[in-house]
Symmetry: C2
Subunit: 399 residues, 2 copies
């Protein structure tokens, strides 16, 4: 029988999803599992979006435009205007989630074996997309000690080679929750300009900023207008991950026209999802205010509670709905598997995403986990109790 590809063998299982079989196992034993492993929002999708689906007027669900429905693209222009980003609908390509936007962007901009520098820990699937696109990710390490702030310009410049073609950031950051300041972004702008790079900015958590902090978009960096490629998604903002609607946004017309050719291959993004997305954009300002308030409560609870567990250190994130915590364990992945396969407290346990999968430097993140605070406060409370009790009895506890 023929062998599968090298790329396929190298492709790691998703650190967010690879423990799913253990969770299914726990559930089959009747144990309730609190999912802190995945950013799958639990809040209601905007009722206007649900209504748009239920009021479907089509009798034949035909292919849509490869660039996405023009009406959705035009409506997004208004949404971006509201958040201070000035673009035209021709700068927008609708994609099957932010995932496809990043993949199309990487394939459009980077040659085989070219490099993109990415602050690590980074969203694990970036690595998978880089394998698919045939380019390489070069990590620049950020640290839990300063809450995962942007590494210094010097650290970036040390990594720049003739193969460097791009920098990728996620802001607010998945998995760290770090929100880059305007000053940090301007430092990036200077590197991007000096070395003629693309700047990929994944801004799918734009609305999730806390403590009065404002999000500053890479699209508003002056002087690198044609270098910036923004990745966006409706998934998180509208608690609608399953509709699979995202966007690639760039003022660089070559990037959009090239990405469109990749888009033509796959014909079109999901038509029903686009109807839902278009309707969701009618959500009133209070919709965003409500989700922000809810996630602020959750974050406050999580960070306060988890830092009371002896040996745990978890910086307070200013954005997104993730946090990275250091745990007093020998190996966070072993611990996460143990939580699902050997531990339970009141017949409950917790599913964590081991952070090592978010680092590409071997050995880093071994004692860290990513926590997605997408559970209501009661569930978060139970999850924290489980974690606390588990750390009391875990055989691989270190301090």
């Amino acid at each position: 029988m023929p062998q599968i590809s090298e790329k396929g063998r190298q492709m790691p299982a998703s650190p967010i999803r690879k423990l799913v079989p253990y969770a299914e196992d726990a559930k089959s034993r009747g144990v309730k599992v609190y999912h802190l492993n995945i950013g799958n929002p639990d809040l209601p999708t905007p009722p206007v979006a649900i209504a748009a689906i239920k009021n479907l007027g089509m009798t034949t669900i035909e292919y849509g435009h490869s660039a996405g429905d023009e009406s959705l693209r035009r409506k997004l222009v208004g949404y971006y205007k509201n958040v201070g980003i000035d673009v035209d609908y021709t700068n927008i390509l609708i994609t099957s989630g932010g995932s496809e936007a990043l993949l199309f962007g990487l394939m459009s901009c980077l040659n085989t074996d070219e490099e993109a520098i990415v602050p690590e820990p980074f969203y694990a699937n970036y690595y998978g997309f880089s394998l698919t696109a045939g380019m390489n990710i070069v990590p620049v390490t950020s640290s839990i000690e300063n809450g995962f702030a942007l590494p210094s310009i010097e650290e970036f410049e040390k990594l720049i080679t003739p193969k460097t073609k791009a920098i990728i950031i996620c802001n607010p950051n998945n998995p760290t929750g770090y929100l880059y300041s305007k000053q940090e972004l301007e430092r990036l702008r200077d590197i991007v300009k000096k070395h003629n790079l693309f700047l990929f900015s994944d801004e799918v958590y734009r609305e999730f900023c806390y403590d009065g902090q404002q999000h500053f978009s890479a699209m508003n960096l002056e002087g690198i207008e044609e270098h910036v490629v923004m990745v966006d998604s409706m998934s998180k903002r509208f608690s609608a991950c399953g509709i699979r609607v995202g966007a690639l946004v760039s003022r660089n017309k070559d990037v959009i026209s090239t990405a469109l050719k990749f888009g033509q291959q796959r014909l079109c993004p999901p038509v029903i999802g686009q109807l839902a997305a278009e309707a969701a954009l009618d959500s009133p300002a209070e919709y965003y205010a409500n989700i922000q308030a809810e996630y602020t409560r959750r974050r406050n609870f999580l960070i306060e509670t988890i830092n009371q567990i002896p040996g745990v250190v978890c910086p307070n994130p200013k954005g997104a709905f993730y946090a990275i915590a250091h745990l007093p364990v020998d190996d966070a992945e072993k611990f996460a598997i143990w939580l699902l396969s050997e531990f339970s407290y009141n017949n409950q346990t917790v599913m964590l995403a081991p952070a090592s999968g978010f680092y590409s430097t071997p050995g880093l993140g071994k004692s860290e986990v990513r926590l997605a605070y997408v559970l209501n406060i009661d569930d978060l409370k139970n999850a924290m109790t489980c974690l606390s009790e588990a750390l009391k009895v875990y055989p691989g506890r270190t301090n």
Copy 2:
């Protein structure tokens, strides 16, 4: 400003979609355009599928499973059983259309620079997927003279090198409408076995077989069970291209587990589309009989009418809803553009897909077009009148 990638520059615009701007132009001048260029079924999506969407019970549209909803995968097992294919739900991975199934399959099975032999003309996006996957398509030419039958074993074997890893067929064929016989498939089986290759079989048009011909699935070839990777889609069968639901099916567990890793990267296929697909599978036998009868009528009308136009030769396809016609023109792409930009008859015109985009051997198919007979008989009649009148006056007419 940084340059876009070589891959992006090489990626051709889709031959099916690249003339869309000309069509939009024609429409803006008030000309009605009959679309024979794209296989976008016009029949109603099964009402049960539409109802499933309208009866959406979710209030939060969360991520689904990366392999697709288990309920859909299990239901597909029953569908496949009905068409004589015996698989387990773990042999099935749900994808965003057949497009993603083929891409995941190619990336899972072929190394960079490895080769897949494909009878040409072939579905144009195969070339785009090969560029994305970093492998190469090696065409083996089939000919309009014998209705695009499978080339001989000798022709295949001439092309086999140490880099050959797969053969890709589409059966019934897009763009030719050719339906491979069991004997032809068994010849392929022998090559596949002898050279230890994967056999990719794109069977999305399985139900579209005419004149009492039966479809024989590559999944039923004996002795190469672990070599066969089937690409499937709900798009054509259920006139539901916009839901973006397809499937990768293989008894080779390594292929499915590897493809799943690519699937985890993009998180999940569209959730609402999967609800529609699952419901559509409840369509009664008469649903399939009706669409078959309707497409038979259309094919019969198209083939009879078009072959009456002087200088046109169009073999009678036994499957799918495409035909390739030779036209008496200097250059079918020039002709197709001329139809949209300079010609109209009774304020109507026709959009064709130039066939050169379906060949990878340069120069082939220059006088051929692909016709998708997805219009009702009245529209087909008008489209054929336009084509006939156009050929009377086209300045580049050759014979």
